[in-house]
Subunit: 120 residues, 2 copies
DNA sequence: TTGACAGTTGAATAGTTATTCATATATAAT
DNA sequence: ATTATATATGAATAACTATTCAACTGTCAA
């Protein structure tokens, strides 16, 4: 196999490892989805919102007060979470109550906390 | 309790829910750590690197070839992963071999893939 | 129907970050 | 010593994103 079948200009390639690993890689789209999922959790505000919603469904105003942030900011983030299918909402009069829409999120957050405690 | 003990200017607050949830919230620093952890996974390049390293330890050049990206770019990302304690490395001559340094990462990624499959 | 209020949304700003390029360091071979 | 190579790194650019502000929608009450 010629050197320039490989993208980068090194001689240090371990071809068997590279070939084998390449074969096992998932589709590009799958990695995008993985990254997108974690990107959602990778923001302090959203992490707080999800942790809070794990305890109670809440209206936008409640969440804003729990986090000490503006309603607009919270609403933007809830929009992001809703579009990702991680939270869902129900309307009741003027209020909109948000709740988790994903079992995995809870587990993933718990595992993450475990990780953090472990690394301390 | 006076209205302005709450941060935002709504009347729609459910005080018991807000008070209770507030009590159960973790420290700000903990949420920052949670978000920082997920931020690391929340990038396509880093997700690919971690998935690849889950199969074999590899040198920078190998990873660059598996991902089809420049060595410099990969090296920057490996630095980020190393500083986060998610990968570690060993030197062997001119080469530097990287490997996972965290059991949780594997589990978290697997759970994430499960989540993605489930939502399809 | 008018006013008040819960929530949403678009635009703007400010901060962050991934990649590239050029350069630097470290190791091995000649 | 000198050269080649593997990796690291600083600076710059470009792309992305969180929050704010202002304006808007929809609902309830008077």
């Amino acid at each position: 196999m010629a050197k320039n079948e490989f993208i980068c200009d090194c001689n240090a390639i371990h071809r068997d490892v590279v070939d084998n690993t390449s074969k096992n890689m998932l589709e590009a789209d799958t990695f995008n989805r993985i990254a997108d999922f974690f990107k959602i959790l990778g923001d302090t505000t959203r992490a707080k919102i999800l942790f809070a919603l794990d305890q109670n469904e809440m209206c936008v105003c409640d969440i804003a007060n729990v986090l000490g942030m503006s309603k607009s900011s919270i609403s933007h983030q809830l929009g992001t979470l809703r579009r990702s299918g991680i939270v869902k909402c129900r309307k009741s009069g003027k209020e909109v109550f948000y709740m988790l829409d994903d079992d995995h999120v809870k587990k993933v957050i718990e595992m993450c906390i475990e990780h953090i405690e472990h690394k301390k």
